[in-house]
Structure formats: C-alpha cells, structure tokens
C-alpha cells in the first residue's frame, strides 16, 4: 500500500459522508460566530465598566471554541476515527502547525535560553530596544516589563537573539543612579566635586555600602558633573534622583557657582 492510496483510504466512502449534517454544522457555526461578533459587543456596552472588559475579552475565546468544535464535528463525519487514521491526520496537521509555529517555538527556546543565561530576572530593571522598566514576569514566550509610566510592555523573548539587553541591577539590589549638573567653567572644581559628593552622602536614600563617585567632563556648553551612586531600594530610583538634584542644586547655589544652560531646539 503506497502513501497516496493510504491518504485516500483515510476518508470514508462517499456514501458514508453525511453531507446534510456537515452543511448544518457549518451554518450553525456561522450563526454562532455572527452572534459572537455582533451581539456580545452590544451587550458589553450596556454593562457596567467592571464587566465590560471581561465580556469583550471573551469574544475571541468564544470564536476559537466555536471553530474548533465545528472542525472536529465535520472531521468526525469525514474521517473514519480509527487510531491509524487519527495518527496520520495529526501528523499532517503537525507539519503544517510546525511551520506556522516557527516564531512561537523560537520565542519559547529564547525563553529557555534566557532562563539559563539570565540576561533578565524578575525584579531587574532592564532596557530592551529603548523600553526601560522593571521585569514583572518572565512568561513562556514573552517578558513583561512595567515602565515607570506604569505601562506593561510585553516583549517576545525573540528579541534576545539580535538586540542587546541593558540590565541596570543584574539580579542585585544595586542600581546605579546618575544625577547631572551643568555648570559654567569658571568655578572651583575641587570645591564643587567635594560638595556634590557630600550631597550624595547626605541623601537619606543613598546606599552607602556602594561607592559614591563624582565625575566631571568639559563640554562645549560648560562643565558636566555627574554624581554616580546607588539608592537603598531600586524602586526608589526616581525619588532618589529627584532628591539628589534638589539638594545638589541648592548646595551649588549656596557655593555661588553658575549653571550653564544650553539653548535647546525642540525636535518634535
């Protein structure tokens, strides 16, 4: 028995096929889909806001269920449900699915690799393709990041293959924060640096077990000072930078140095 004959033999004899039944199934499924697509949204908009989202979320699920049930019922009427037939059928479907699932499988594998390589862990503050936030959960296919704007970003693990991952704390609670100051060049650098160091040391949120450094570099529009230090809790990084900037500005004003301001050009 060669393979072509076997494929044909899977199907029942034409006499056995209940055409009427199949047509009925298709029509009923079509009506159910119509109801799902049209009636549920209308219903949802009449419900209070709490339920609306749940009802709307149910629409695609119901659609998928209707389709699967219809397909199974039709197949049952087309194919003789012996074990051999089912296995062969599943094999054919499997190959098709395989191609369709290539990207999904890639993400799943990337997810597995990410567990081994640990470029991000839940609780890390990472940046992928310009999106910065805290890793909330690592799912099978994706990683969920909560940005400081409280936006949940779902990024497929796939991006791992070709994009760098910036991890600010890499599994520890040490997350460096940088506070910048721009001054006109005519000032006492040593005094400014010492004072900015004191600003960091005297912030109540600073983690003193990590180093505090102040670096300066001369730019075209003035001297750019950076305080590099670590907050006690990574979640407080923005409050910490705010505190540093505030104290730093006040301390520099008390020292009598002048701030350099670049004339900015709006890009957008």
């Amino acid at each position: 028995m060669d393979s072509a004959e076997r494929v044909v033999s899977i199907f029942r004899d034409v006499s056995g096929i209940a055409v009427v039944q199949i047509v009925a199934i298709v029509v009923i499924a079509w009506v159910a889909l119509l109801v799902d697509q049209r009636v549920l949204p209308l219903l949802a908009h009449r419900l209070p806001a709490r339920f609306r989202l749940h009802v709307l979320a149910a629409i695609p699920v119901v659609r998928l269920l209707v389709m699967i049930v219809a397909a199974v019922l039709v197949l049952q009427r087309l194919v003789d449900p012996t074990l051999e037939n089912m296995v062969a059928l599943l094999g054919v479907i499997g190959i098709g699915l395989g191609f369709a699932l290539k990207d999904y499988a890639g993400s799943l594998i990337a997810g597995t690799v990410s567990l081994y390589e640990n470029p991000y862990r839940p609780g890390d503050w990472i940046s992928i393709e310009g999106t910065y936030g805290e890793v909330k959960s690592i799912n099978l296919r994706t990683v969920s990041i909560l940005t400081p704007d409280d936006t949940l970003v779902t990024i497929p693990h796939n991006t791992l293959w070709n994009s760098p991952v910036f991890n600010s704390n890499a599994g520890t609670t040490n997350l460096q924060c940088v506070a910048s100051f721009f001054l006109k060049p005519e000032h006492d650098g040593q005094a400014v640096r010492q004072r900015l160091r004191d600003v960091a040391l005297s912030s109540p949120l600073v983690k003193l077990s990590q180093p505090v450094t102040v670096v300066a570099v001369e730019t075209r529009w003035g001297t750019h000072y950076r305080i590099r230090c670590y907050p006690v809790d990574p979640a407080q990084q923005f409050a910490f930078i705010t505190d540093l900037s505030e104290r730093g500005r006040a301390a520099l004003m008390a020292l009598g140095v002048q701030f350099a301001l670049a004339a900015a050009v709006a890009e957008r």
Binding site: T173, R195, D198, V199, L201, S202, P204, L205, K207, L208, S209, V212, V232, D233, Q236, A239, T242, D243, E246, R247, G248, A250, A251, A254
Partner: protein, 414 residues
C-alpha cells in the same frame, strides 16, 4: 594597650572572675555573644511546643500559686535592684587601658577613637573620664557652627599638657551637604597632630557613616567588648542591701536566673535567659539592662502582715523574671516603610535629633516627620528626650537595627 583593661566597679564585693567586667579592646577584636542555639533550648522549645499542642499548662512546675498576679516594679525599686554602673570606675579602667598610649610619646598616633554602640556606655565613660585629672573636656559645637564650618571652634580648643577628650564625634556633623565640612576639618587637624593628643568618642553608627565621609579605616579605634551572659550576670546583679538578699527566679519554673550569691540552695541556676538576653542585645549593656528591667516582676505586698513566715518572706524578696518568650519587646509596625526607615536611620546616625534638624535632612515636610515620630513613639521605638531631641529607645534598638539591616541601610559594625 595589648590585651584588655579591666574594671570590676559595679559594687564592692562580687564574684572575682578572670574576665574583667568592662573590657576595652581594639575594634577588630570585638566579638558578639554567641547566638543561642544549644541543644537545651531546642529541647525546651520542643517540649513547650508539644505541651502547647496538647493544651496542658505546666502549672505544676511554677513555684507560684495559681492566679497569683505579678506586678511590674516601680521606678524606685528598679533603681535599687538594677543600679546603673559606676561610670567613674569604668572611666578609671579605660584610663588604665590607655596608659601605655598616654605615656608613650608616639607621634604617629596623635588621637585614639573610642567607638561604641548606642547605650553601650561609651558616652558615660568618656564623660566621667573627661572630668578626671589629666584629661581636658572638649565641648561639642553648636549646630550653627557645624553648618557654617565655623573654625572658631578650634580656637576654643583646651590648651594644656593633658589629653583632650571629645565625647561625641557624632555631634560635630549633620548629614546634609553643608554639615560635613567641620568634621572633616576636625579629623584633618586631629590626625595631623595639630590639636595635640586626644581621645575622640564616637557612636558606632556615626562612625560607620563617617568612614564614608572620610574614607577612614578603623585602625586606631577601640571599643567596649560585648557582654556575654556571664558578664551580664555580674553586671545585672544588684548590690546586697543590709539584710535582704534578692533572688531572681524565672516565673514559670522557679529556676534561678542570676545564680544566688553565696548559697547553693539550687542546683539549677541557668535557664538560658541571660544567654538569650546577651545574644538579643548584641552584648550591649544598656540595651540588656533596659530589657532586664521590663522582665522583672514582684508579688504584690499584701499590706502589713506581722506574722509572715520565713518562706513568704523569701518569696517577697524574690524577684520573678518573666520567661524570655513573654518579655514584651517592641516591634516595628507592619506597615513601616521608607519614611520610618530614613527617620530611624537619621536618629541613629546623629544619636538623637530635634524635629527641626530632621526636617532639614529628610525629603519630607515637617508635619509628616512629626507624625512618623509619634507613630514610632507609640510603638515604643523612639522617645522624646529632655533636650528636645528624639532618640531611639534602648529597648527598641535591637529591632530597629535589624529592620535597617534587612532594608539595606548602612548599619554599624558593633
């Protein structure tokens, strides 16, 4: 300076041991009391657990009548039973310990630091030392002098041939951008020998912070050795009164907590209470004494009864010590967060601060800081002192320290 100086100055006649009561050692030789994890306490804990499950109380063991109400002691009684150490004697021991350094004109060690945890007795010892003869007392600067980095303070430095004593280095700085210059100048002058020879006392929290300000190493710092349970027993033993001798027995099983002096009427004299007290207080004598005070109870004196039996007499002279599990220690409120942490941390770093100074340091409004302080005071963790500053309480210090530790704040080394 090698080894350790001793003082046995709590009261005249007491157990003469090999180990001195107050030991001064290099900071690198500081050893915490060993944590209590011996077989006996696990045994006791398991037995208690099984009893708790079975629901039977162990009245049988208790030497007290069922339902006898024990009362907390009033302040006068407490002061008699748990007297504070004689600081002048401790200061004498420190002076003896430092004698080699004082005599040897070693120019590359112009100053010595004495670092101690809050309530560890460092401040009182140095205050007593500064009053005694070859030592000169240095007054702490005003907070305005700190903020302005006022060099006039150095002008008023005591002159003379003696060794000067600055009792509180933590009171020469404020943790704000303009509050660290004076202490830096002080350390620069002191370490270069410009100010002569001196002893600088520093709170262990401020020391940990100042090491970052100044990048210093604990090369020249001495400290008070932690009190283990044996030395705690000697520290807490009250002086004998004229005819009454006090017995300290554990309320649930009658075991003598402090071994009865000059008598052998009980074979069991240790309950693990002092071991746990030493471990919990990290060998800090002030903290241990404060917890000890709250653990003591007395039977109520039932009026003037003339025909009181000898047994009852002894019972009245017996101070009952709560079992360690029932000693009420303050706890951090469950919702304590960043605000509580930074407030407590600031108080510890400065060994107490008034609200006005706190408000200049913390990035919150003064009303919120006041509210936090009251909330913490309610929990028994801080108190408002006579000089208008707020301090962490002795009894709350261990739990505050561990709260700050688990939240990654800078903690002290002692």
């Amino acid at each position: 300076m090698s080894g350790a100086a001793t003082v046995n100055g709590n009261h005249g006649a007491s157990q003469q041991d090999d180990v001195p009561l107050w030991q001064f050692v290099k900071q690198s030789e500081f050893r915490l009391p060993s944590p209590v994890l011996d077989v006996r306490s696990i045994q006791l804990g398991l037995r208690g657990f099984v009893r708790g499950l079975l629901g039977n109380r162990r009245e049988s063991e208790s030497p007290l009548e069922a339902g006898a109400d024990l009362l907390a002691l009033d302040d006068a009684r407490l002061a008699r039973l748990v007297p504070s150490p004689e600081w002048s004697a401790v200061a004498q021991a420190l002076s003896d310990h430092l004698q080699p350094w004082i005599e040897q004109q070693n120019t590359h060690k112009p100053v010595l630091f004495l670092v101690g945890a809050p309530y560890g007795g460092r401040l009182e010892t140095l205050q007593a030392l500064a009053q005694s003869d070859p030592f000169l007392h240095v007054r702490a600067p005003d907070w305005r002098a700190i903020v302005g980095c006022d060099h006039r303070w150095f002008k008023s430095w005591p002159r003379g041939t003696g060794v000067w004593v600055l009792t509180q280095l933590e009171k020469t700085c404020l943790r704000r951008p303009d509050g660290l210059d004076l202490v830096r100048e002080l350390l620069a002058r002191a370490l270069s020998g410009e100010l002569g020879r001196g002893i600088i006392g520093c709170d262990s929290w401020a020391w940990a912070f100042l090491r970052h300000v100044w990048a210093g190493r604990p090369a020249f710092s001495e400290t008070v050795q932690a009190f283990d349970h044996a030395r705690l027993a000697r520290l807490l033993a009250p002086p004998d009164e004229q005819h009454r001798r006090h017995h300290f027995r554990q309320a649930d099983n009658g075991v003598f907590v402090l071994s009865p002096p000059r008598s052998a009427d009980s074979l069991r004299s240790s309950t693990g209470f002092l071991e746990r007290l030493a471990a919990y207080s990290r060998g800090n004598p002030g903290v241990a004494a404060a917890i000890w005070r709250t653990a003591l109870q007395l039977l109520p004196e039932t009026g003037v009864e003339p025909a009181i039996s000898e047994t009852d007499r002894r019972k009245l002279d017996t101070v009952w010590v709560k079992p360690w599990e029932r000693v009420v220690r303050p706890e951090l409120p469950a919702d304590a967060g960043m605000m509580e942490a930074v407030t407590l941390h600031a108080l510890l770093l400065h060994d107490g601060l008034p609200v006005a100074r706190l408000a200049e340091m913390l990035p919150r409004a003064r009303a919120q800081i006041s509210e936090t302080l009251l909330y913490l005071a309610e929990a028994g963790l801080v108190r408002h002192c006579e000089d208008d500053s707020w301090r962490v309480t002795a009894i709350g210090y261990p739990v505050v320290r561990s709260f700050l530790r688990v939240n990654d704040y800078l903690i002290d080394q002692l």
